[in-house]
Amino acid sequence: MAIQILMPALSPTMEEGTLAKWTVKEGDSVESGQIIAEIETDKATMEFEAIDEGVIGKLVVAEGTENVAVNSVIAVLLEDGEDASAVENASAAPASEATVTDTTPAAPIQKTAEVGFEDIPDGTTFTSTTVREALRDAMAEEMRSNENVFLMGEEVAEYQGAYKVSQGLLDEFGKKRVIDTPITEHGFAGIAVGAAFGGLNPIVEFMTFNFAMQAMDQIINSAAKTLYMSGGQMGAPMVFRGPNGAAARVGAQHSQCYAAWYAHIPGLKVVMPYSAADAKGLLKSAIRDPNPVIFLENEMLYGRSFDVPDLEDFTVPIGKAKIWREGNDVTLVSFGIGMQYALEAAEKLADEGISAEVIDLRSIRPIDYDTVINSVKKTNRCVTIEEGFPVASIGNHLSATIMERAFDYLDAPVINCTGKDVPMPYAANLEKLALVTTAEVIDAVKQVTYR
């Protein structure tokens, strides 16, 4: 019986990858442990070893194929005594839906201004870009225009970024401006604060914001408070950025959302984009901002593509929410990956005749209260969605603000959909339960609309 060789999962969030290269060809004998292919994940290019021995009967997926789904058949291995006829049966199921690489970049899409892109001139073209690329582009553009901007963090330079966000920056800007640090968050955060005091504009990449807890004192006590303590003489013009919140199956210590933590601190700005356009525009604004900005990314969103306007200098103002979808029956307020559930819920609710207005806060500090309040005054109902813990969440704060500023407009209590009040479990089923879901958002909307 011929053996199917399946596309392996090589990172916690990998759902598909690129079969970069076969190192064997059909007819070759392979040993167990022999490297047979190179596979590019969202994080790195990995060597892939054969688990069994035999003869390569067929390479089902061609070299250079992108978007090969995990667990799809990529090759067939013939065991002793088998001939090519065995290949047919083995490669039949489960078929890969992969497509061969199209090396020409996607043609720009002509678009008219849509919701959330009001400020963009008519006739602007858009290019589909991943959040990862958008972040890199933002850093590269700002580094080109300002000599004092530099990037430091673990694996940002030679490794090209633990999540490949800084890919190519070392080549373009050199090691003076793209600095690999040792694993020493408290120390390098402090060094970056000092560099900012000294007139530079550091971008500090944390491999994840979970590790930034080691650096919390420098972020809060040194970066955020110095402007005030110096009576306005001296501050820290810098960006702390990196993935935040849950990835997939990485357990309690690597899965926390820190939006509410940082939102608590006067002296910081905090942004948490959902789309690639916002990631790019907000990161450029953050780098230019004379204040310390906490820039919360999300690993699950890095590989997702959105339309990014083809403008030479596209920025998004910090502190301004974006209305993704207009509606009349209920206001959904979210940010970051929570937007995914909000938008999905709105789509499904529309089928049931409930019209939801969806607001992406984008900035958590300062918060665009007016956009939220104006929407609630129109819809009279509100559900907030976020991935962080429920106690002292952003949703709690919005509920209080809505109560203070729009009490008489409310037809139902505000409901906060959040992550559950538990450390993130590892087991797949429990993890799913711990996260906020689209179904929970829909339920909440039905409660506030009394349906």
Binding site: T181, G187, A195, F197, N221
Partner: protein, 327 residues
Amino acid sequence: MAAAKKKANVSGDELLEYYREMLLIRRFEEKAGQLYGMGQIGGFCHLYIGQEAVVVGLEAAAKEGDSRLTSYRDHAHMLACGMDPKGVMAELTGRKDGLSKGKGGSMHMFSKEERFYGGHGIVAAQVPIGAGLALANQYKGEDTVSFTYFGDGAANQGQVYESFNMAALWKLPVIFVIENNHYAMGTSQERSASTPDFYTRGEAFGIAGAAVDGMDVLAVKAAGELAVKHCREGNGPYVLEVKTYRYRGHSMSDPAKYRTREEVQKVKDNQDPIDMVKEMILQGKHATVDDLKSIDKEIKKTVQESADFAVASPEPDVSELYTDILV
């Protein structure tokens, strides 16, 4: 000890300058203690009395463009680098004319002009920041150095060693000045440090170090010059342990029961940094007793004026509550 024993060549004018600067610090701190007792200064107030030769000696080795920062025991560093005593004192009293408009207090003052970067209330937090200032100096291609002061207590914090590692790795021009006054608040060095010689703490990272008698301003200056030369020549960081002594408690509220009166008295009698310079001046006939008396009088006047200014300055306008949070 790998100390810089050689004393700096020094003129009478220089000696008088150090005398004047150290005396200003002492009288200023005494006045601050007095104002604290009167309720004019609140919160924490950490005095530098006894340690004057450290910062005065090292400032004598600095040049224009060098940066400096320290812990919460910071008044002396500000005076020594040229910040206005009136502004410092008015900050201690929490008034509008304080260097931080009254919003920072004793532990939190800054001056871009004098390249004084605080004033840090969290023990050892200034150490990576000091290394970062050195990184900025290096990045901009300046040959300036960062004087990063911290105490023997701070020397046990983890971020110090994170900073040592990166400073050595990247050859940052930073002088880690360990002001060893032998007591981390109430815990003696013997009870808090596993080894006695702080100047060797950088050895594991390949950082050169030396110890020096911090009660002797000329020795401090000479050691500082060696450290500065090392850094300016691109050899990376340097650890300078300056052995000193604080006469007062850790802060105004510390009764200092962890050491004997005799111990303190002995240092005052035999090692006082100001007396030492005074003697050199008189022995070298650089000035007469009367000359020194008139300097004393002049300093007293400066300090009294700063106190009067600090008490007369109004509290900050209530509108200042919400300013300077963001640029």
